[in-house]
C-alpha cells in the first residue's frame, strides 16, 4: 500500500527501534539489511524476501533486550542482521500464501460490481493478517536462532573486532556488484572507488 519507502528496512527498522527508544540501533540494523536486498525488485509475480517483517522483528527483539550476544554492540548488531537476513526467506512464503488466497477474492469480486470494493478491501485485510503472521513467525525464528548462535559463540572464541559492521557493510556492497553490468559500470565503480580511497588516504 502507498508504495513509499516505509516498508524498507532502512525506514521501518529505525521506526521499530524508536518504539523502544533505540532509533540508532534500528538504523544500524536497517542499513545492513537494506543493502542486502537493494536490488531485489518487486517486479511482476516475483515475491522478494520479507525484509520488512524481519527488520521490525529483529530490531524489536534486540533493542527490547529479548535477544543478546556476548559481543560488543557493533558486532552484535551485525549478527542480528545476519539472523534477520537468513530468516527473511521463510517470511516470503506467507506473502505467497496470501497472494494465492486473494485469487478467491478476485473471483468473487468479479461476479458482481457491488462485490468488487468489498473483495478489494478483504484482500487488504488478508495482507495485513499475513504481515502479522509473518512478523510473529519470523520473530519466533530469530529468537530461537539467537540461542543457537549464542551457543556457537560460546564454543568459539568471541570476535571482539569492532570493524565487523564495516566489513559486513562492505560485503553487502559487494553483493550489489551485479549493477556493474550496466554501460560503463566497471569504470564508474572502480573510478569512484579509487578516487575516494586516494582522497581519504591523503586527507
Amino acid at each position: 500500500m502507498l508504495q513509499s519507502l516505509l516498508c524498507r528496512p532502512l525506514v521501518c527498522a529505525p521506526l521499530a527501534g524508536s518504539v523502544v527508544g533505540q532509533w540508532t540501533t534500528g538504523l544500524a540494523i536497517g542499513c545492513l539489511l537494506e543493502l542486502v536486498w537493494l536490488l531485489r525488485l518487486p517486479v511482476g509475480a516475483t515475491v522478494a524476501p520479507d525484509d520488512t517483517q524481519v527488520a521490525i522483528a529483529g530490531t524489536l527483539l534486540y533493542a527490547g533486550g529479548l535477544i543478546s550476544f556476548p559481543l560488543p554492540e557493533e558486532a552484535a548488531v551485525g549478527f542480528v542482521a545476519l539472523l534477520c537476513a537468513t530468516v527473511a526467506g521463510v517470511g516470503r512464503h506467507v506473502e505467497i500464501l496470501v497472494r494465492q488466497f486473494n485469487v478467491r477474492f478476485s473471483r468473487r469480486g468479479l461476479c458482481s460490481q457491488g462485490l468488487a470494493p468489498r473483495c478489494h478491501w478483504c484482500g487488504a485485510v488478508a495482507f495485513v493478517l499475513g504481515a502479522w503472521c509473518s512478523l510473529l513467525f519470523c520473530g519466533l525464528l530469530i529468537w530461537l536462532a539467537s540461542f543457537g548462535l549464542q551457543w556457537l559463540l560460546l564454543l568459539f572464541p568471541v570476535p571482539t573486532w569492532q570493524g565487523l559492521p564495516a566489513l559486513l557493510l562492505l560485503l553487502a556492497v559487494v553483493g550489489l556488484l551485479p549493477l556493474l553490468r550496466i554501460p560503463h559500470g566497471r569504470w564508474l565503480f572502480f573510478g569512484s572507488f579509487l578516487t575516494t580511497y586516494v582522497v581519504a588516504q591523503v586527507f
Binding site: 478476485s106 473483495c119 478489494h120
Partner: protein, 249 residues
C-alpha cells in the same frame, strides 16, 4: 468531463491498487476498484457482469505510472460514451501498454531511483546523520507523487497519445543514468568502508585475517559473477571468516 478533483481522486485511489494483488489477475480487482466510481458515472446502464469481467481481466503494470495509464483509459471511455470514434477501447489500451510501461517504470523507479536514494541515505547514516531515513522517505514520496499527479493530468488530456509522451521522456535512458549514479555512490562508499577497515586500530590487517578477508572477498566476487548470488550467503561467509581470522590471531 472529469474535473481536477476527480483526477486527484483517481491518483489517490491508485495508491491502493495493490491491496488485492493476486496470482491470477494480478492488479485486476484493484484496477476495477480504482475505475469503478468513474465508470459507474458514465456507464451506469452497462455496469453489469460482462462489463466487470472485461475490466477484471489480467492487468499488471508499474504502480507509479499506473495513474497515467488509467487516466488515458478514462479519456478513451469518455470519448466512447460521447460517441466519438476511438482507435481502441479502454481495456484494449490497458492490455496494449501495461507491459512496456511496467518494464520502463520498474527499471526507473525500483531499479534506478530507489537504490540511489537509499544508498545516499545509508552513506549519510554511516557519517552519523541519523535522520537520513526521513530524507530518503521524503525525497522518494515527493518525486513519485509528482510523477503520479503529472501523469494523471497528462494521461487524461492526451488519451492514448500519452504513450508518445512517455517515449519522449526516454525513461529507460534515465534509469541507466540513475543506476550509473548509484554505482558512483557505491564505489565511494566501498572506498570509505575499506578505509575504515584498514584504519581500525583494534586489529592489523595482516596474517590470517588478511588471508581470510582476501579469500572472503574473492569468493564474494566469484559468487557475484553468478546470477543466482545470494547476499545472505556472502554475509554469513564473511562473518565466519572474520570469526575464524580473529580466533587465529
Amino acid at each position: 468531463m472529469l474535473s481536477w478533483r476527480d483526477l486527484v481522486r483517481l491518483a489517490w485511489r491508485c495508491l491502493f491498487v495493490q491491496m488485492s494483488w493476486n496470482f491470477k489477475g494480478f492488479q485486476n480487482l484493484g484496477r476495477l476498484w480504482v475505475l469503478s466510481p468513474f465508470l459507474r458515472r458514465w456507464h451506469h446502464d452497462r455496469m453489469d457482469l460482462p462489463f466487470c469481467s472485461r475490466y477484471g481481466s489480467y492487468f499488471n503494470t508499474n504502480v507509479f505510472l499506473l495513474p497515467t495509464v488509467l487516466a488515458a483509459t478514462l479519456a478513451l471511455e469518455e470519448k466512447d460514451r460521447e460517441g466519438q470514434s476511438v482507435p481502441l477501447d479502454g481495456v484494449a489500451f490497458g492490455q496494449a501498454v501495461m507491459a512496456p510501461v511496467a518494464a520502463v517504470g520498474d527499471a526507473l523507479f525500483w531499479g534506478g531511483l530507489r537504490p540511489l536514494i537509499v544508498l545516499g541515505a545509508v552513506v549519510l547514516a554511516w557519517f552519523g546523520y541519523t535522520w537520513s531515513p526521513w530524507l530518503a522517505l521524503l525525497l522518494f514520496v515527493l518525486l513519485t507523487t509528482y510523477v503520479r499527479l503529472y501523469g494523471v493530468f497528462k494521461g487524461y488530456a492526451l488519451g492514448p497519445q500519452v504513450v508518445g509522451l512517455i517515449q519522449q521522456f526516454r525513461l529507460a535512458g534515465c534509469a541507466v543514468v540513475l543506476k550509473q549514479m548509484s554505482l558512483v555512490v557505491l564505489g565511494s562508499f566501498a572506498a570509505l568502508l575499506a578505509d575504515a577497515l584498514v584504519a581500525e586500530p583494534a586489529v592489523a590487517l595482516s596474517g590470517p585475517l588478511l588471508v581470510g578477508l582476501v579469500a572472503a572477498l574473492t569468493l564474494a566476487w566469484g559468487l557475484c559473477c553468478c546470477r543466482r548470488v545470494v547476499a545472505t550467503v556472502l554475509l554469513w561467509w564473511c562473518a565466519v571468516a572474520v570469526a575464524m581470522a580473529t580466533a587465529m590471531l
